[in-house]
């Protein structure tokens, strides 16, 4: 099916399909969302006003049988950071959109009236319908409601109450194969969707297939690629312990931010670790291994059941568990699971919101360690939109300002996740220089700083960190454009067959002749496009800095501060 751009104008409630312009032809995923945002969004616009656009794009390989190719990119100008933003997630939507021939969905404008809408996407394009039944509902009820209205096979992208209330940490949830949720979590993209009065996007199932120019070459490359992923020992550990296997190793390295970033090790680390989580899941007859999209061979997700062996949460990630756990000093995995479930249902970023709770605890709202208190505030304040709930729902920076707390771990107003930059300096470079605020997935130096993947760079040294972060940020921008899960990077960094096979698949899909260097150049051009947007929005290198307290407060056990000179940070962009 020929690919098209689907466009929705929410001001005059019209839709259209357009041929893909030549300049967007070779792009997908983040490369496409960032290019469209840069081409069409006024950089200085209000992110929740009529000039911002929400752009959804499957990756270059989404919809094919390529292993791990089901990631969906969502982009806009972020209301949380004011920068360009792309957040990607699994679920079924990327593969379904690609099969329908939707290269990108662009939602623009704002409705004049206070009426909510649902978008329906099919092979014929998009239709807009008024939505009443699902307004005010949590994400799980929305997915169930759409399932009844249409079928269990329909794809769903939805916002919860947080998105409806335009909270700056609101996310967009994407239905997974089991009707649970994956989230385009960071940067408040759910608030952008809410500003446009779109409660959910329903995607019609199809038997259509994505066109592949050279089937044989594609199959062979996918075999090689899949083998590289399956054989990689990190993939195997991810399938057993999930990403939460990191709690213990980051704690051991002294970089597990604890009690709102005042320590680097958490006494309760064993209680919230991947090892403990695995045992609980097995004991309660959950699933340690679970895929967020069809074709994933790593299966880092899981089904975590409550004490009565009933479903509680899935996609229970290290960063969320760290944030609600060590950062808020909660050592009870069931309280963290309950909070994770509530945040999924409310539709709010579990990193931003949990770090905001840590700041609020320092501000005296709750005692550190009060997991039940966190769940109560999520349910009664954030979910219902009380004034307190709105302050928390607008993120860690918002809480810091409201409570007079100065130890606020954010860059460009986005919460710093799970790895202390003082004790893992490569991550500090990524947090500071990322085009999207603090985000570990932008350039995951943990691989080389801690895990010994792709070589080794001492996490406490100043040497080599800028180059490490730069190389990873470039590679990540390229991977984020393919529709591939970022976890293919572990195989790509250490297995020489992996990356060439990925390039071969892209070439076979499009009849192209790209080299590995072309893919690197794609990553470079995406970063430069994003940077240019941010500069036009008013950001300068002075914004590429960590908060003051990292320079002044040493963190135990290594008793180190953030000591990378600003001039070094500014060299990041010398490419």
């Amino acid at each position: 099916m020929a690919e098209q751009i689907y466009r929705v104008n929410m001001t005059n409630l019209t839709t259209s399909t357009e041929p893909v312009p030549d300049k967007w032809m070779g792009l997908g995923g983040r490369g496409l969302t960032s290019t469209i945002v840069a081409d069409e969004v006024v950089p200085t616009c209000h992110p929740l006003g009529s000039k911002n656009k929400l752009v959804v794009a499957p990756g270059l390989l989404s919809g094919t049988v390529a292993a791990n190719s089901g990631r969906l990119s969502v982009g806009a100008k972020s209301p949380l950071t004011g920068t360009i933003k792309e957040a990607n997630a699994g679920g079924t939507a990327a593969q379904m959109l690609a099969k329908l021939g939707c290269k990108a969905l662009i939602i623009e404008g704002l409705p004049k009236n206070d009426i909510w809408y649902t978008l329906q996407i099919s092979k014929d394009g998009v239709t807009i319908q008024e939505e009443k039944e699902l307004i005010g509902k949590g994400n799980f009820a929305v997915v169930a409601g759409i399932g009844k209205r249409t079928s269990a096979k329909h794809g769903v992208m939805t916002i919860g109450p947080a998105g409806e209330m335009k909270m700056l940490s609101a996310n967009i949830s994407i239905k997974d194969p089991d009707s649970h949720l994956r989230s385009s979590g960071r940067g408040g993209l759910g608030a952008v969707m809410g500003s446009k009065k779109v409660k959910c996007i329903i995607i019609e199932p199809t038997d259509a297939k994505v066109e592949i120019v050279d089937q044989e070459k594609f199959k062979e490359a996918n075999r090689t690629f899949t083998k590289a992923l399956v054989d990689n020992p990190i993939s195997q550990a991810l399938g057993t312990y999930g990403t939460n296997v990191l709690v213990n190793i980051i704690n051991e390295s002294g970089a597990l931010p604890t009690k709102n970033f005042t320590g680097g090790q958490f006494d309760g680390h064993e209680e919230i670790s991947g090892e403990t989580m695995h045992d609980i899941i097995v004991e309660r007859e959950g699933k340690p291994r679970h895929n967020c999209h069809k074709g994933c061979v790593i299966q880092c997700s899981q089904i975590y059941n409550d004490k009565d062996k009933k479903y509680k949460t899935s996609g229970f990630e290290y960063e969320s568990i760290w944030a609600m756990g060590a950062d808020c000093c909660v050592d009870n995995l069931d309280h963290i699971a309950e909070a994770d479930h509530l945040m999924d249902d409310i539709g709010i970023d579990s990193i931003e919101t949990s770090v905001a709770m840590g700041v609020a605890m320092e501000g005296g709202l709750l005692a550190f360690g009060d997991g039940e208190g966190i769940c109560r505030i999520l349910r009664e304040d954030v979910g219902k939109g009380t004034p307190l709930g709105r302050i928390i729902g607008c993120g860690a920076g918002s809480v810091g300002r409201a409570f007079g707390v100065t130890r606020v771990p954010v860059v460009k107003n986005q919460a710093i996740p799970a790895y202390d930059p003082r004790a893992i300096k490569g991550m500090g470079i990524t947090y500071a220089t990322s085009t999207q605020g603090a985000d570990h997935t932008m350039g995951y130096t943990i691989a080389t700083n801690i895990l010994g993947v792709g070589g080794s760079v001492d996490p406490l040294s100043q040497e080599g960190q800028v180059e490490l972060s730069r190389n990873l940020q470039i590679a990540t921008a390229a991977i984020d454009s393919t529709g591939m899960c970022l976890f293919i990077a572990f195989a790509a960094l250490d297995d020489a067959t992996c990356l060439p096979a990925l390039v071969d698949m892209i070439n076979a899909r499009f009849g192209a002749d790209l080299t590995a260097e072309d893919v690197t150049n794609l990553g470079i051009s995406i970063l430069k496009t994003e940077r240019a947007f941010n500069e036009a929005a008013g950001f300068t290198s002075k914004d590429d800095r960590l908060p003051e307290f990292f320079y002044e407060e040493p963190i135990a056990p290594h008793n180190v501060v953030w000591d990378i000179p600003d001039e070094e940070l500014d060299k990041f962009w010398n490419f």
């Binding site: 020992p233 312990y241 090892e275 943990i446 801690i450």
Partner: protein, 79 residues
């Protein structure tokens, strides 16, 4: 324990814990290397991803000293 011996706290993680332990204080000859300690746990050094002494990365050839904490991880990742 005599002066030719050292006591080291050995910590194991992920599937290295299966049929072993989380944390144990063990006595070794003072000249022992990290590799030899790994082998004494019945772990193939080829399966080791990361080792740390007192929260700092170390090589398999390093020699711990009295009172050190040695953490042994298989090849793992996440993020």
């Amino acid at each position: 324990m005599n002066r030719n011996e050292i006591s080291v706290t050995v910590k194991l993680f992920a599937f290295f814990r299966e049929n072993r332990f989380k944390q144990q204080e063990q006595t070794f000859p003072a000249t022992i290397t990290v590799r030899e300690i790994v082998q004494r746990q019945g772990i193939d050094p080829e399966e080791v991803g990361v080792t740390m002494i007192n929260s700092r990365h170390c090589t398999l050839d390093q020699t711990p000293v009295q009172g050190d904490q040695l953490a042994i991880f298989p090849v793992i990742g996440g993020g």
